[in-house]
Every structure is written in C-alpha cells, then in structure tokens.
C-alpha cells in the first residue's frame, strides 16, 4: 500500500499477479446453473433470489459450463447422470471448483441404499467443499462459498510460500 500524495488515502497496492488474479477469482465465483434435485431450489433459486442474494458476494449463475468457475452439484447423482456430471466438469475452464451440496451429493444421502445412486459425487469429480444438510439452508451454502474463498486464498499463499522456501 502507498499513500496518495494529494488525497492522503491508500491508493496504490503492490501485489503479486497471482494474488491479484486470486482476489478477482474468489470474488467472482460464477456457478453453473445446474440443478439436479431438491437442493437446486435452495442452493440455486433461493440463493439468487432477493433475500439471500449471493450476487452481492460475486456469486452468480451462468447457464453454460464454459463460462462457469464453480459447479454446485445440487442433488442426487445416479449412474445415468454421472456421465453428464463428468462431461460438464470437463467442459469447465480451469481453474474450477466443485461444491457438493446436500447429503446426496456428499454421500448418497437418504437414497444410498439404492444401487443406482452414486455414493457421493466425489467418486466422479474432485470436490472442494462439502455442504451437509437435506437440503442445506441457503445460509449454509453461503458459508460454503466463504470457505471456498478462503481455500482459494490459502492455495495462493501456500504456493508463494513454497516458492520462497525453494529459493
């Protein structure tokens, strides 16, 4: 930070490019509009609705995986759906994150006895944040996104620290 000569305010920030990118990334986590089941009403619709309004923390939906940063897996994934989930994940550009929302996406939930149900979406795609609940409240989803932001921040710091140590 540097003090502006005229206004006396902090106006110039010295920051590594990586940190700048991560600052931007974690404040514009656009998720893919991909509701599978019940959790979609809470995690995607209520979340973008007026009360919870995730838009204020930069979290907003995009209709295409090509434009999305985060995939919220909101619902039960069965074996017919698994292939699609994997394809959509592969279509997302790097860097990308996955939020497993609700009991079904975490472990199979109330349907885990049924052989057609995938026991947690982490068997198909790597998951960054697990949000428990059936369904989780929108507040839980918001907390999940805050955890994801912390994770992104920490990833950069760890990377920079590792590079510093190696010199």
């Amino acid at each position: 930070m540097a003090i502006d000569r005229f206004t006396g305010e902090h106006s110039i920030a010295f920051i590594r490019v990586e940190q700048l990118f991560d600052l931007a990334r974690r404040n514009s986590l656009w998720y893919m509009a991909f509701g599978i089941a019940c959790c979609a009403i809470e995690g995607l619709m209520s979340a973008s609705g007026p009360r919870f309004d995730f838009d204020r923390m930069g979290v907003f939906f995009r209709a295409s995986p090509r434009q999305a940063d985060v995939m919220i897996v909101a619902g039960t994934v069965n074996k017919k759906m698994a292939e699609t989930v994997k394809t959509l994940y592969d279509q997302m550009p790097e860097p990308k994150w996955v939020v497993a929302m609700g009991a079904c996406a975490c472990t199979g939930g109330p349907f885990r006895e049924y052989p057609n149900v995938v026991l947690g979406v982490d068997q198909i795609v790597p998951v960054d944040v697990y949000i428990p609940g059936c369904p989780p409240r929108p507040e839980s989803v918001q907390y999940g996104f805050m955890q994801l932001q912390d994770k992104i921040k920490k990833q950069t710091e760890d990377r920079l620290a590792a590079r510093r140590d190696s010199h």
């Binding site: 089941a37 609705g49 759906m81 109330p110 349907f111 057609n116």
Partner: protein, 402 residues
C-alpha cells in the same frame, strides 16, 4: 406445408413405426428426402438437456427439427431415478413421508399427505378435526409456494426476469411460515399417519393472516407484471394447446387438465381432509393453451389464499393427532389415496401383506402424464417455444423419475 416426416416415410428413409428404441437418436437423423417440390431439406436433431437452465430439472428432450419447426420430440427421463418406490418397500409406514417429500420436492406436504391418507385408509384410523384443518392449511400454503416457483421460472422461460425476484420474495415469506410450523424449509415430514406433527405455534395465525392480506395485493401485482406484458401474451397465447380430448386421453390432471376445460379437481370430486367444508372455486380454461394454464394457476393461488383464511377462522379445538402405535402394522389389503397436489392428482397405491413395511408402494405422479402429452403437442411448434411449453405444464422431474 407438406409434412416432412410423411415424405421421408414414403421415400423409405425413416425406420418403420415402433422400431425406434429409446436411447438411440430418433429415426430420420441426417436423412434428406430428395426432390420434393424441388427442395431438399435436412432434418436436424437438437439435444436439450439434461443440463439446460430451463428444463426444470434434469429432463432431456431430443428434438427433430425441420428448419425452425419441430417434427418430433422425444423425452428421455431417468436422470434422477432414485428408486423411491423400491426404497419405500423397506421403510416403515410412518417414514414414507420422508421419501415423498423428496419426490415432488417443491410441494412436499401434498406427497406426505397422500402417503399418510393411504396408510390411514388401510388402518381405518379416525383423524381429529383439527388435524384435518391443519393439513388443509399447510397444503394450501405449500400450493401457493409451489405455484410461485412455477410463476417465477415460467417467466424466466419466456425471457422475463423481474417476476422471478418478486415471486421469490413472497415465497421466502411463505417458507418462513412453513418453517415456523414444521421446522424445515423444504423437507417437512409434518403430515404423519394419524395426524400432524405439531400444532400451530403461538402467534403463527396472525403471521399467516398478515401474509394473506398482503398476498391479495401481491398476486395482482404479479399478474400485472407478467400477464400484463404484451410480449409475454404473444409468447403464450395459442401456443401449446392441449384440447380436451387429448388431455383426457393422456390422463392429465391438475391445472393442465383444468386449463383444457375439464373441471376436475380431486379436492372437489373426492374430498379428503377438511376440503368438504371449504368454499372454493375451480378455475377452468377454454382452449387449453399455455395462457389458459397460466390463468388457471394464478386463480388457484387466489383460491388457496381464500382457503387459508377459512382454515384459520374455522380451526377447531382439540388434538392434532390421533393415538397411533409407534410402529404401524396395517392389515392385509390394498388402497389408493389421492390428493390434489400443485401439479395434479398425486396418488399412492399401497399394498400391504401385514408386517411393518409396504409390499408395494406405487406413486402416481401427475407430471409424468403431462410429460407424455408434451411429445404429442410439441410437433408443429418452434424451437423457442419448447422451453415455454415445458414451463407451462409445470412438470417436476423429481416425481417423474422418482
């Protein structure tokens, strides 16, 4: 205009009727009937879903296009199959509501009520009057909440955004009420065999009445905002018409059937809970197009609001649940119980062979019938109308796939 499919069939280009297998692309892919009217057209197969922002869940439509016009449409379902019917065979009777909540997840109370009614019919349990009123109250609150989700997303399907925010604003108030009564925002597990989980908490009646008086005004605002929009009217009027005979032949129910001019409402024809004592009108459309279905659902919200007031006024004193054993063991037999859910006649066919779990549990999902009718009504429309017509039938993939 000559039907391209007829031409292609005559030219021997298409597979004969009945030989097409689901999962494969529809017959006629990339085949050009040549030399008709000096023009060559090539059919194009467009795949919509299962990830599509407007298909209301994980529906996959395979649409065969001739230019901009739909020649045939085929729905591929099963992307949300979780085996609710099979799992129910391994659940105790008072745990069936938990599964039904996750069937039609936007109107959970109706699913719970259907399964509870089936068990009560089988065991011949007498329900206290207060429980009946609470069931009607919660059903109607949930119906408005469900219709508001439909209203918001139907507007999104036609390209409008504003009404979604207003609908979600009202829905959050309703969800607060539901949460206050049942303890959950979506998965209530409130209606149990024998009655309901809990009485209204103190001060809740006043809160509901406050919502009701506000909603009288808001519903007109919603209607003006979306239904008063001329672009919206052009998008929906005369589009996706289901005539009376088709609607009956496909076994539609709920607003989809009433939009086609058949005044059938389970609440009126086979009253359950306290619906026999309620005063309400059954709105009916005339031509069965998307506009009629829209108007029927808007009127249903007004009628639900009316019934909520009646429930609170006529709420009897007494217990909210009958005395039922902790583990229910109905006698042998089979029953069918149906309720009017937000999407139509949700029915439960329950077969018991004694014991504490059902032998067979069939879930009659109204959306499945509406989906089948879609394949009939979509040909002849434009691709841009597909999403709108799917939205107008208000199908819920959770209960279609189960």
């Amino acid at each position: 205009m000559t039907d391209a499919r007829d031409i292609a069939t005559e030219a021997g280009m298409l597979a004969p009727e009945g030989t097409h297998h689901p999962g494969l692309p529809p017959a006629g892919i990339r085949r050009a009937p040549e030399g008709v009217d000096g023009l060559t057209t090539e059919h194009l197969i467009i795949n919509m879903g299962p990830q599509h922002p407007s298909t209301h869940g994980v529906l996959r439509m395979i649409v065969e296009m001739d230019g901009e016009e739909i020649v045939s449409a085929e729905a591929s379902i099963g992307y949300l199959h979780r085996g609710i019917e099979k799992l129910a065979e391994h659940r105790q009777y008072n745990a069936l509501g938990t599964l039904m909540d996750r069937g039609d997840y936007v109107s959970g109370i109706h699913g719970e009520l259907a399964s509870a009614l089936a068990v009560e019919k089988l065991m011949e349990i007498a329900i206290p009057a207060k429980a009946d009123y609470l069931r009607v109250l919660l059903s109607e609150i949930n119906r408005i909440a469900s219709h508001l989700v439909w209203f918001g997303t139907f507007g999104l399907d036609t390209g409008a955004m504003g009404q979604f925010l207003y609908a979600m604003r009202d829905r959050e108030n309703l969800v607060d009420i539901l949460e206050g009564i049942t303890g959950a925002r979506m998965m209530f597990n409130y209606v149990r065999p024998g009655g309901v989980l809990a009485d209204l908490p103190a001060g809740m009646a006043a809160k509901i009445l406050e919502f009701c008086s506000g909603f009288d005004k808001y519903i007109e605002e919603h209607h003006d905002l979306l239904g008063g929009n001329e672009i919206f009217q052009h998008r929906v009027k005369g589009i996706g018409a289901i005539d009376r005979d088709t609607a009956l032949a496909f076994g539609l129910s709920g607003a989809n059937l009433r939009g086609s001019g058949v005044a059938f409402d389970v609440r009126r024809e086979r009253p359950y809970a306290a619906y026999g004592e309620m005063e309400f009108d059954v709105p009916v459309g005339s031509t069965g197009d998307s506009w009629d279905r829209y108007m029927v659902r808007m009127e249903e919200m007004r009628q639900s609001n009316r019934m909520i007031r009646q429930c609170l006024e006529g709420m009897p004193e007494g217990d909210f649940t009958a005395k039922v054993p902790r583990v229910l063991r109905p006698p042998e037999g089979e029953v069918y119980a149906a309720v009017e859910s937000s999407r139509g006649e949700t029915g439960i066919h329950l077969v018991s062979q004694g014991g504490d779990t059902p032998y067979r549990f069939h879930y009659k999902a109204p959306s499945l019938y509406a989906l089948q009718a879609l394949e009939e009504i979509l040909p002849g429309h434009l691709l841009a109308d597909v999403v709108m017509i799917i939205g107008s039938t208000d199908i819920m993939l959770g209960e279609i796939d189960r």
